[in-house]
Amino acid sequence: MNHELLQGKYVRLTAENPEVNASAEARWWQDSEYFRLLDSESPHLWSEKKLKEWFEKGLEKEDPHSFGFSIRTVEGDKVIGFVALFALSWKDGDTLAAIAIGEREYWGKGFGTEAMNLLLGYTFRELNLRRVGLIVFEYNLRAIRSYEKVGFIHEGRIRGAMLREGKRWDWLMMGLLREEWEARQKEVV
């Protein structure tokens, strides 16, 4: 078994300095489709300076309920997105996961799917959590397919949780249990 938890074939998960994250995210957020796939709130266009201040605040103390990594390509060593665990409950062994690929030319090519697989390995093998959940908007078909591919199971839909372009959209919630993930690892090997 591969023991380099954060290293994949196409991408690796890294920790970056505030200025790297700030400059990438300031650029990505100007892509409205990127934001609308990622977040249900109303978007702001934050300055690089403001974003950097937030990332610097993260340096002051570690939050035991969230883990975030940047996604770097193996070829070209380029930061293309991020993955994160948040709302982590140690006592329940439960967490929510998030992923975003900011660089459009890497959409739909399996980079995100591999990054999510690395995050799952980290979640189950290092953090020893018992399940991972996530929320995805019903119009984000590419993401839904990717999550199904790594083994997430549909757990329900929050009806009409989002209003965009005059239409109501559901939030889908998906979940993956440790035992389901482990069974898939055996199949792969």
């Binding site: 439960d94 399940r131 199971i153 329900g156 839909r157 009409g160 209003l163 919630m173 979940g175």
Partner: protein, 196 residues
């Protein structure tokens, strides 16, 4: 219902503000019954001293003031004002018209007397007729069948079942997400009106 009908006065209870002098003692007492805290959600249950409770109340009011997407109420006896519980609508996304409701009646002896139902009727009217939300969510554990029945009685639908997301007493339970849409609430109010 009209503009003159109070948003806060029910038949048995009223929704009111926090009383920073009197409430800490009462709510601190409730938290020493961990079974109560477990009914409220997944976060680790732990008793809270009156001094800690005072701080919590201050933090709540600060958060309400700064975030603009939280509403917090105490539930009190309509006449003499005795503290019975609390209610909170939070995670409001104004652009989507969504919010999340948490409520509790603290003393087991005050449960099953209609206080919760009276409070929920007011809260739904507040959420849909004043805040103009499109939908309201409730999250609760599978190990709380009384609350599940309670919310279903008001038309909430089970929408999501997060499998085994709750771990207690050496076993796991599902976390349920319930939802009620404004249209469903309005239809219900019309029906109730026709019946009476």
């Amino acid at each position: 219902m009209d503009i003159q009908t109070s948003l806060y006065e029910g038949k048995l209870i009223r929704l009111g503000p926090i009383d920073h002098e009197k409430d800490p003692e009462v709510e601190s007492r409730w938290t020493h019954n961990l079974a109560y805290l477990r009914l409220l959600g997944a976060s680790p249950a732990r008793p809270v001293s009156p001094a800690q409770m005072k701080k919590k109340y201050e933090a709540i009011e600060k958060e309400v003031e700064e975030s603009k997407n939280i509403f917090y109420f105490t539930i009190r006896c309509r006449e003499e004002g005795r503290l019975l519980g609390f209610a909170r609508i939070d995670w409001i996304e104004w652009s989507n018209g969504t919010g999340n409701l948490t409520m509790g009646v603290g003393d087991p002896q005050d449960r099953g007397k209609g206080y919760g139902s009276d409070a929920l009727s007011l809260l739904l009217r507040l959420a849909f007729a004043e805040l103009n939300l499109y939908r309201l969510s409730v999250v609760l554990g599978e190990d709380n069948p009384v609350a599940l029945q309670f919310f279903k009685r008001f038309g909430f639908m089970e929408e999501v079942r997060r499998r085994k997301a709750l771990h207690r007493d050496g076993r796991t339970w599902d976390l349920l997400h319930l939802g009620l849409l404004a249209d469903e609430w309005r239809a219900q109010i019309r029906n109730d009106g026709n019946e009476s």
